[in-house]
Symmetry: C2
Subunit: 231 residues, 2 copies
């Protein structure tokens, strides 16, 4: 029975992968930078996004966000205050987002993708299951808060290994939590050598400018013609 | 395909339920109180258990622990310092513990269950998937740290609804985190009316005596003959 279950799961995954690949093509064609934010519950994905969306809107960029939760639309309501368009996916008990859920929300939203610059997807808070589901994002960003402990990359290696960048959040709480920043960075590097690591506090604003500069660079790269393309 | 997947999952779950029911009978027969601790990654399950095991050993009780993680045996090594017998389950990427994993560890450990008073099972850090897998425990305890935010019971209702007790951990960090304790308790009660809530700090020892007293009461109840049983 386990073998059958695994076979069917592989089937589901490859269906997800095909759909994610189609989404990725749409995003690339529209020049839209799409980021999939993954972390534990309570790491501060929504707080980082609040800061990020507000700063991007203030700078004249055009961000949007899609937020996944098992239940409630609290996060979408928080993020909508930035003025950016936001949609909530309630997964109704499912422990991760899938490409089909994202595609359905994009259809329902009716956004013109080429009139957006950034799309942030806030995944369900879970350090395990979202790792297996490609959403068609260009960048997967794994968050780790100063309150969770430096060992999390070692204990949840798959999700940190599959990430393109890491953000250490709630750094204003590093003191009270006796958080060892150098150890966290070295644990991240052990699981994913060379990963860029940002250190932020949504409360104080620490590190937000560096994070925004990196986002802008990644977005600018999208618009560059690839090697061999005539301009 | 979704329907087939769900049918096979239901089959897997009911196999798990049968195995869990058999484990529960063994635990009851041995007079062993078994607790399944569930929470996000980094909520402090291991820190609470360190305190709990050390206090129980010091008081002459006979606790044991089985710890689940995707990878590493760090937690088992931390807990073994208490002097209590401890085993680590490395799930190798699986996002929850299952009754079969627990049964296999109990066989491998060879513990005489009737010579133990308490068995603590530390589940994989995940607020979603462990909710669906009965391990044969008498009590499921959901932890929520002061650093995670008061809204987690509303956003992850299934796991808090299936819990017999809740522990608010890291309460020493409530000040720096601007944690609203009354709101967290009311959110827990909204999802699971009447749930007992303990408030602890493994760092300062706050609330540990109350938690230990509750454990001792639950353990004493196990030894009581049920209604209609002649003594």
């Amino acid at each position: 029975m386990t073998t059958r279950l695994l076979e069917i799961r592989a089937g589901v995954l490859s269906k997800n992968d095909r759909l994610a690949a189609a989404l990725r093509e749409r995003f690339q064609a529209a020049g839209l930078l799409v980021l999939n934010l993954v972390s534990s519950p309570g790491t501060g994905k929504t707080a980082l996004l609040e800061r990020t969306l507000a700063a991007l809107v203030a700078a004249g960029a055009r961000p949007a966000a899609i937020v996944g939760d098992l239940a409630t639309d609290n996060d979408a309501r928080r993020l909508a205050r930035s003025g950016a368009p936001v949609r909530q996916i309630e997964t109704d008990g499912i422990c991760h987002l899938e490409a089909a859920m994202l595609a359905a929300q994009l259809d329902a939203a009716g956004w013109a993708l080429d009139e957006l610059d950034y799309l942030f997807i806030e995944n369900v808070g879970n350090l395990v299951c979202p790792a297996s589901y490609d959403l068609g994002e260009q960048l997967r960003v794994a968050l780790l808060s100063a309150t969770e402990g430096e060992d999390k990359p070692l204990k949840y290696p798959v999700i940190f290994n599959s990430a393109d960048a890491a953000v250490i959040t709630k750094h204003d709480l590093a003191g009270p939590c006796a958080f060892d920043h150098a150890l966290a960075v070295s644990n991240l590097a052990a699981v994913r050598p060379g990963i860029p690591v940002f250190t932020t506090s949504a409360r104080t604003g620490e590190g937000i400018a560096t994070w925004l500069a990196w986002l802008a660079e990644r977005r600018a790269e999208l618009r560059q013609p690839g090697p061999g393309v005539q301009s």
